[in-house]
């Protein structure tokens, strides 16, 4: 039996970064907002205080913060000729769970995408001619200029530490000269760099590149955000990604927005509430609310005037497919939109081993790094290269946690006493330089519902069909040598190149930057939502998150995910509430 609950104005499915942002703006506008979160309540002093936050076994190895695969997982295959199998243990990416979502256990690398990233198809075609037919790259439908105020606001909510490169058109030495024009500086100065970053920056400068401090949601100093939330200076303990921060030093929904929401009478949060489907009117034209199940297994129908999907990209896409909203993407015909343009990130790296100098990488922070952007986006001429896009090259010192970190040079055995000896010698004397490459959409990479495997409610799992593309291979082949040159110039004894090789492997951890599936765009023929992140099919349904990206840029997604959420919230408050209906006529 399904219990019908009292109406609310807005129901949010998922309560991480975008849920908190939507709740903030919509409760500001006087709406009654209810957030449904599948996982538990979590706050700093109770769930990740300094007394046990830095527990690598619990949080890294045993996945203390993540979605449990037994509750919801997906199946994976590299291509359509294979049968997809369920992921029973997470590997390549780590979906979050609980209040704050992945915003609790992120590193804090907070980049804006480049202006050209938002117009990837039109920009590249204008400069280089038509893209290959299978490359389903699209424009976002929203421009960098339109998102700029929202980037700026989110960076102030977080208290981002960094060095601006372009404020109102003025190029500032030491910042990123390639970045889109900003309306303001970062709220906090950059983090304190360590030995590795100094060597990286010097080497990059020698090569004529333009190093700048990575924009960090790890606080370089005490900061109070526009909501009155206090953040403390980072202690460089090196436990960010996969961990909650016990020192209030990492911006997360908990440290920046949620306590303000919890005091509002028009906001409510229900945890352990897993949404099973979006319900609609009999003609399918409007959403009427959602059906969810609580920890006791009781089913509820929560009626709402608006439904906003704020869960992770994988869950948002799956929920659309399970609810039958929008045409599922078909890779054979290229028709349909939901599940289309699944993209990821393409990485390679070069390790550097020093003979005498100590790098002491255990003194780290999630976004402590120096970065060059000379090979990102369209910051360099791609004529004749056979690929588009690029990536940033960075030397991050995020951590040297002992269970995950065993740097050894080329040729050292992978186990035994020789390996142990090498780890001992190199643990304090090595670093790594990485390429964080863009992932361009391809006709054959997508997600849909699995025909075989089902969850405990009998609903099909999401199926991911994904492999690296020709564009990815050319991109890394072109830029990895630059990474190598920088690494070589850092003055170490030797380097070790970790090329991106072969097909995508879902097991070794790479990054939790899964994108696409609910992409935004200019036409219902090739996108799920319009430029305001509103469903083309159901006007009182909005979608947030990296699922909106038609393809992934060579950056970490959070800043752009947050800016899109603020942009969409702004459109809801200033346009949708005045005249409910489609904000863009197809």
């Amino acid at each position: 039996m399904v219990t019908r609950l009292p109406d609310v104005d807005v129901v949010l499915v998922g309560f991480g970064w975008t849920g908190a942002i939507m709740a903030q703006k919509l409760t500001d506008a006087g709406m009654e907002v209810l957030a449904l979160e599948r996982g538990p309540w979590r706050d700093t002093p109770t769930h990740f205080p300094t007394t046990f936050a830095q527990d690598e076994l619990r949080y890294y190895w045993r996945h203390g913060m993540f979605q449990e695969a037994s509750q919801e997982t997906l199946t994976f295959r590299n291509n359509r000729s294979q049968m997809a199998l369920p992921m029973r243990r997470w590997g390549s990416f780590l979906p979050g769970n609980g209040v704050g979502g992945s915003g609790v256990h992120w590193n804090g690398q907070t980049f804006r995408f480049l202006p050209s990233d938002f117009v990837a198809r039109s920009h590249n075609e204008e400069r280089y001619g038509p893209l290959p037919e299978d490359m389903t790259v699209q424009d976002y439908g929203v421009t960098y200029e339109e998102l700029e105020p929202h980037f700026d606001y989110f960076e102030k909510i977080c208290g981002i530490s960094g060095e601006a490169g372009n404020v109102n058109g003025e190029i500032i030495a030491g910042g990123n000269p390639f970045e889109g024009q900003r309306s303001d500086h970062y709220p906090c100065p950059p983090l304190q760099m360590t030995f590795s970053q100094d060597r990286f920056a010097a080497s990059a400068r020698n090569l004529g590149l333009h190093p700048f401090p990575g924009p960090a949601a790890n606080l370089s100093q005490a900061y109070t955000n526009p909501l009155g939330m206090q953040l403390a200076p980072c202690t460089y303990c090196g436990f960010c990604e996969k961990f909650g921060c016990g020192n209030y030093s990492k911006s997360s929904p908990q440290t920046t927005i949620i306590p303000a929401l919890m005091r509002r009478n028009n906001f409510a949060l229900r945890t352990n509430a897993e949404v099973l489907s979006i319900e609609r009117t009999p003609d399918g034209a409007m959403a009427t609310g959602v059906t969810y199940v609580d920890a006791q297994g009781e089913l509820y129908f929560q009626p709402a005037g608006m439904v906003i999907l704020c869960a992770y990209q994988l869950q948002n896409t799956r929920l659309m497919l399970l609810s039958g909203i929008g045409a599922p993407y078909d890779p054979q015909t290229g028709q349909g939109v939901v599940g289309k343009n699944y993209c990821y990130q393409v990485m390679s790296s070069v390790d550097v081993f020093f003979e005498e100098e100590y790098t002491n990488e255990f003194v780290g922070a999630g976004a402590l790094g120096m970065v060059v952007d000379d090979y990102n986006g369209d910051n360099f001429d791609h004529s004749g290269l056979g690929f588009i896009g690029g990536g940033y090259i960075a030397c991050w010192t995020t951590n040297a946690r002992p269970i995950e970190t065993h740097p050894v040079p080329e040729g050292v055995p992978t186990w035994g006493s020789a390996w142990k000896k090498s780890v001992r010698e190199n643990f304090l004397k090595s670093t790594s330089v990485g390429l964080h490459g863009a992932s361009m959409a391809h006709r054959s990479n997508y997600v849909d519902l699995d025909p075989t495997y089902k969850d405990r409610w009998g609903r099909p799992l999401l199926r991911m069909t994904y492999d690296f593309t020709l564009n990815d291979r050319r991109l890394t082949a072109h830029i990895t040598p630059v990474v190598k040159d920088i690494a070589r110039g850092m003055g170490g004894r030797e380097i070790k190149v970790n090329n991106r090789r072969g097909s995508y492997d879902s097991m070794p951890y790479q990054t939790t930057h899964n994108t696409g599936g609910t992409i935004m765009g200019t036409s219902p023929a090739d996108s799920v939502v319009n430029r305001y992140c509103q469903s083309w099919d159901v006007p009182n349904l909005f979608v947030t998150g990296a699922g909106l990206f038609p393809q992934n840029a060579g950056y970490n997604p959070t800043d752009t995910v947050a800016a899109l959420a603020y942009w969409s919230a702004d459109a809801i408050v200033n346009q949708y509430l005045r005249a409910e209906g489609p904000l863009v006529q197809p």
Partner: protein
């Protein structure tokens, strides 16, 4: 038909009563009462906080050294509240500690402070309380040992420790100072926690605002002059603490967090400044030099400090002002009675969220992680680190607090 006649009659009766009270329930009078009720933080004791009780409906158990006393229902319910009380009844309670039935009131109700309030202020409080929705709320029997259940015993206590006083301004001092003293000694009754008590629970004059112990918390010395607990605090710091719930030195937590959250953050800037000006005028005796702890103990305590505390409180004890309390010069840490610091290490503490500072910054609990001896070592080390100079604590002090917390 019959019912509607009765209803009409009742409505008329209500109307008559309303007219009679109209003068007293004028906006400015009720507003004055509301402000005094806020400043006096009546809601804190007279609301069953632990069980999300209705504000002012009483029922909170106050853990006194003599037993548990349950607060009364202040709403105008006729049977269980103060609905039948006249203004004179109410004034007598506030001024003399005697209830409507003529029974002696236990001084857990701080009439020893309210007695200096002029009749106009007490009437305003009464008028405000009359505007509350009447709530029927039965209050549990007090849990007191037999001799104290005998209310006339309180009369003897009052002969020793209670004086029906009036507030007499000191003409040599500024208006602000006098206003501050009135608030501190009267409505805000700071001394109820911050003044040491004798064995019978009466204020010890010599201990005036030098800190006091209650419910196993030590409310620190708040004298702001030379050698006082707030000697390092400027007037602006005290105002920030009371208004924003954050200050350079520390934040209000637990019991004081309630006071700031419910009361002082809603007070006027002038009144908070007046309180600060008055407190800053109170000097104190220089502290006794403490015997230094052994080098082994310093080494042990310092190691624990670096491993467990320094990430937030900074290696040099300077903390992060407004966020993590500096430990160098902390009056909580160096208080004569170390209850608060031991307790906060054992069970953690949370800075109160206020309108100005929404984030519930917190210190985690260490009871599961550090032994009695380790806590004693780190506390002893910190009490003598940097400019601090307070006597060491022992593992049995920590063990006592640990068993108290396990029972409560």
């Amino acid at each position: 038909m019959r019912n509607s006649v009765i209803l009409a009659a009742l409505a008329a009766a209500g109307l008559v009563a309303g007219t009679a009270q109209a003068q007293e329930l004028a906006y400015s009078q009720v507003e004055r009462g509301r402000y005094l009720v806020t400043a006096g933080n009546c809601a804190a004791c007279h609301t069953d906080m632990e069980n999300d009780g209705t504000p002012f409906a009483g029922g909170r158990g106050l853990d006194t050294p003599f037993g548990v006393i349950y607060s009364r229902n202040l709403t105008p319910d006729e049977e269980t509240g103060i609905g039948l009380w006249s203004r004179d009844d109410f004034y007598r309670a506030m001024n003399e500690g005697v209830n409507r039935e003529g029974q002696q009131l236990y001084p857990a109700f701080p009439y020893t402070y309210f007695t200096i309030m002029p009749r106009e202020d007490v009437d305003a409080v009464y008028d405000y309380l009359r505007t509350l929705e009447p709530v029927r709320a039965e209050i549990p029997e007090n849990e007191l040992p037999l001799p104290l259940r005998f209310r006339p015993a309180v009369a003897g206590w009052k002969m020793l420790f209670f004086e029906d006083r009036e507030f007499v301004p000191d003409p040599a001092q500024s208006d602000a100072w006098n206003r501050g003293r009135y608030l501190v000694d009267g409505p805000t009754h700071c001394g109820a926690c911050h003044t040491g008590k004798n064995l019978l629970g009466g204020d010890r004059e010599a201990e005036y605002l030098r800190g006091g112990t209650l419910e196993n918390w030590f409310a620190p010395n708040i004298r702001g002059g030379e050698n006082g607990g707030l000697a390092q605090w400027e007037i602006g710091d005290i105002v920030e603490f009371l208004r924003d719930g954050r200050a350079r030195h520390t934040a209000p937590m637990q019991r004081m967090g309630e006071v700031v959250g419910l009361s002082t953050q809603h007070m006027t800037q002038e009144d908070l400044e007046a309180i600060a000006i008055y407190l800053k005028s109170l000097n104190d005796e220089p502290p006794q030099a403490a015997d230094p702890i052994t080098e082994d103990r310093v080494a042990a305590g310092r190691s624990i400090f670096f491993d467990e505390c320094a990430a937030c409180h900074a290696a040099d004890g300077s903390g992060v002002p407004y966020i993590f309390a500096p430990l160098d010069g902390s009056n909580k840490l160096t208080a004569e009675d170390p209850s608060t610091v031991i307790r906060i290490i054992l069970e953690g503490a949370q800075a109160v969220p206020t309108e100005a500072a929404l984030g519930p910054l917190a210190m985690p609990a260490f009871d599961w992680k550090l032994s009695d001896e380790q806590i004693a070592d780190v506390v002893s080390y910190l009490r003598q680190a940097w400019s601090n100079n307070a006597i060491a604590v022992s593992a049995s002090d920590v063990a006592d607090m640990r068993s108290y917390l396990e029972e409560h």
